[in-house]
C-alpha cells in the first residue's frame, strides 16, 4: 500500500488533481482511499455529484468514531473521507487534522487492503497540524502541485522547507499549468533545483471546470477525453515511483533566476 499527500499553494488545484487522479486510478482497478484534510471539506465533492459527505470531525462531535461510518463510496468506487473542521475564523483546523488522523485508525485501513491512500492537504504547511499527514506513519511521500508562476513556486519551496525540516520524502512535483510561457520547463528546472523530479503536467483545460460545475470529475463527464490518460499516467508514475527523497529547498533568488531566466 502506498500513502501519499498532496500539498501546494492555496487555489492551485490540489483537490482537482487529487479527485481526478483518484477516479482514474480506480478505473485501472486499484482500491483508492481519498482523504480530504481541508476544513472546507471540498476535496471529495466531485465524486458525489456536488454533495458533501459527513466529516470525521462532525461525526466525532456526535461520538461516532467507527471507521466504517467515516468512509463513503464515491464515483467509480473510490472510498472517500473528509476530515472537516471548524467554521471559518474560529477554533483550530490544524488540531482538527491531528485529531481526525488519530480517529482514522490506520490498522483498519491496512486491513481493508487499499492500494493507495491519497491525503489532500489544504494550502501551505502553516502550522504543526497541517504537517500531520506528512509525519511518520501517514504519507510515505509528498507530491507538490505548482504552476510556473513565481508565487506558486515560492509556496512550493516553502513546503519543501517544511519537508526538509520534518525529514519527509518528496515524490515529485505535479504541474498544474496556468498558460504562462515555457511553463513546463520552468517547473521542471525548479524540481531539479530542489533534487526532486517533475512527474507530469496538466494543461489548463476548461473541461476540468465544466465537470466541477456539475460536481463531477472529468472521467465522469468526459470519459473519453485525453485528459484522463494524463491522470492515469500521473497515477502510474506515482505507483511506480522509486525516486522519492527529502528535498533540498532553494533560495528566493534562485527561484527568481530560474523563472526570470526563461522569459
Amino acid at each position: 500500500m502506498k500513502q501519499i499527500a498532496i500539498y501546494g499553494k492555496g487555489g492551485i488545484g490540489k483537490s482537482s488533481i487529487s479527485s481526478n487522479l483518484s477516479v482514474n486510478l480506480a478505473s485501472e482497478g486499484l482500491e483508492v482511499l481519498l482523504i480530504g484534510c481541508d476544513p472546507k471539506s471540498d476535496s471529495t465533492i466531485n465524486l458525489f455529484g456536488g454533495k458533501r459527505i459527513d466529516t470525521v470531525l462532525d461525526l466525532y462531535k456526535k461520538n461516532i468514531t467507527d471507521p466504517e461510518k467515516l468512509i463513503f463510496e464515491g464515483y467509480n468506487g473510490v472510498k472517500c473521507v473528509e476530515v472537516g473542521g471548524p467554521a471559518a475564523g474560529v477554533g483550530c483546523a490544524g488540531r482538527g487534522i491531528l485529531v481526525a488522523l488519530k480517529i482514522l485508525s490506520k490498522d483498519y485501513y491496512l486491513e481493508k487492503g487499499f492500494d493507495i491512500i491519497i491525503y489532500d492537504v489544504p494550502g501551505d504547511v502553516v502550522c504543526g497540524g497541517f504537517a500531520g499527514p506528512a509525519r511518520e506513519g501517514y504519507a510515505d511521500e509528498i507530491y507538490i502541485v505548482t504552476s510556473g508562476e513565481y508565487l506558486s513556486v515560492y509556496a512550493a519551496n516553502n513546503i519543501a522547507k517544511g519537508l526538509f525540516n520534518l525529514n519527509v520524502k518528496m515524490g515529485g512535483i505535479i504541474g498544474n499549468m496556468r498558460g504562462i510561457p515555457n511553463e513546463e520547463e520552468k517547473i521542471k528546472l525548479y524540481a531539479e533545483e530542489i533534487d526532486s523530479q517533475l512527474i507530469n503536467v496538466v494543461e489548463r483545460n476548461s473541461k476540468i471546470y465544466e465537470s466541477e460545475i456539475e460536481g463531477k470529475t472529468v472521467l465522469e463527464k468526459y470519459p473519453n477525453d485525453p485528459l484522463n490518460s494524463k491522470f492515469k499516467d500521473i497515477g502510474a508514475k506515482i505507483i511506480e515511483n522509486k525516486k522519492s527523497k527529502v528535498p533540498n529547498p532553494t533560495t528566493d533568488d534562485k527561484i527568481r533566476s530560474i523563472i526570470g531566466g526563461l522569459y
Binding site: L57, G85, P86, V90, G91, C92, R95
Partner: protein, 358 residues
Amino acid sequence: MNILTPRPNPIVAALYTLRDLDVDVAVLHGPSGCGFRAARLLEEDGMKVVTTSMSEEDLIFGASDKLIEVLNEVDELFSPKTIGVVGSCVSMIIGENVKKAIIDSGLKNKAFFVEIHGCMGANTRGAIETLKAAMEFGLIDEKEFKRQEKMLLLATEVESNSGMAKSKYTRPSRGTELKTVADHIVNLLKDNKKIAVILNAKKETAYLFADIPLAINLASKKLGGSVINVGNLSTDVGLLRIKRYAEDIKNNFESNEISIDYISGGMDEYPIAGKNAIEYLKDKDFDLLVAVGIPQALPVIEKESIAVTNGPREVHPLEDVGYKYVTVEIASHSTVMGARDIVLSELGEAIRNAAGIQ
C-alpha cells in the same frame, strides 16, 4: 537565559489579582484542570472560580458559545457584581474572541476580559494585565495602575536578581530546621540581646509571616532582650482588600501591646519596602536581623541575619548571599486564605515552644 526551574504562572497571578480587586467571580476560559490548585484556595478566600471546561472538541471548533453559556450560568448562580474572564493557553492559541462573547452574553457591564495565557513570561505579567483590564473597566484609576505596575516590574527584577529566576536551575530546600532557628533567637533574647525584625510580606501571606514577629515579641516580653519592629503595614496604600490585611495585623499587634517602630511601606510594596526597612535600621544598634516574607527583596547587610521565606526554591539563593539561617514556612498559602487575623506559623510555634510560651 533559559531558566529550567518551574516558576509561578501568569494565569494564576491573574486570578489572584482579581481576588485582590474584590471581583466576585473569575471565569477561566480553558480546561477544567487549569489553575486547579489556585482555584480552590481562592474560593476559600471568597472569590468564586469556574472554568469553561474546554475539551478537545472545543479546541478544534472553538468554544465561544460555551463561554457565553457559562457567563449566563454564573450570573444566575452567584448574582455577581463583577466577573473577570481570564484566558488560558488553549483559548488564546486558537484565538477565541472573548470580548465578543462577553458582549453577546449581555453582561458587558459586569464582565471584563483579562487577555493572558501561560506563555507570556513572568507571573507578574498576569497581574499587570489584570490591573490594566480592571483600569479600562473602571475598577481602579490610572494612578493606582501605574503604581502597582511599577511594583510588579520591580518584583520581577527581585526574582531575577536575587530569587529563583537568578540561575538556570534552583533546587528546592527546606533550609535550616525550625528548632535550630528558634533556639538561636530565644537564646539571644535570654542573653538580653537586641533583635530587629523586618516583616516584608506579600499581601495575604502577611497573616502567617506576622506570627513570627509576634512570637519574637512575646518571647522577649517573657525572657528579656528587646525587639525593633519594622513592617510593610501601611494602611494608606493599595487596594481596599490589601489595606484591610494591614489593618487586621496592626490590630492584633496592638492587642498584644506590641508597637511597630517603623512602617516601611504598603503590603503590595514589598519590592521597595525591604530597602526602606534596611535604610531605617542603618544607624540602629541590634545583634540579629530576622527578615520574614520576601527576604530576597532586602539589601544584604553585614550583620548576622536569618531569612524566613515561603518558597523552597528561594532557600539556596538566600543562603548564597550570606544569611546565617534560611528557613521555610511551607504551608503559607493554604493557611492564610480567608483569614482575618494572624495565623499560627511553624517558626512562631517553635519560638513559643523554645521560650516556654503556650
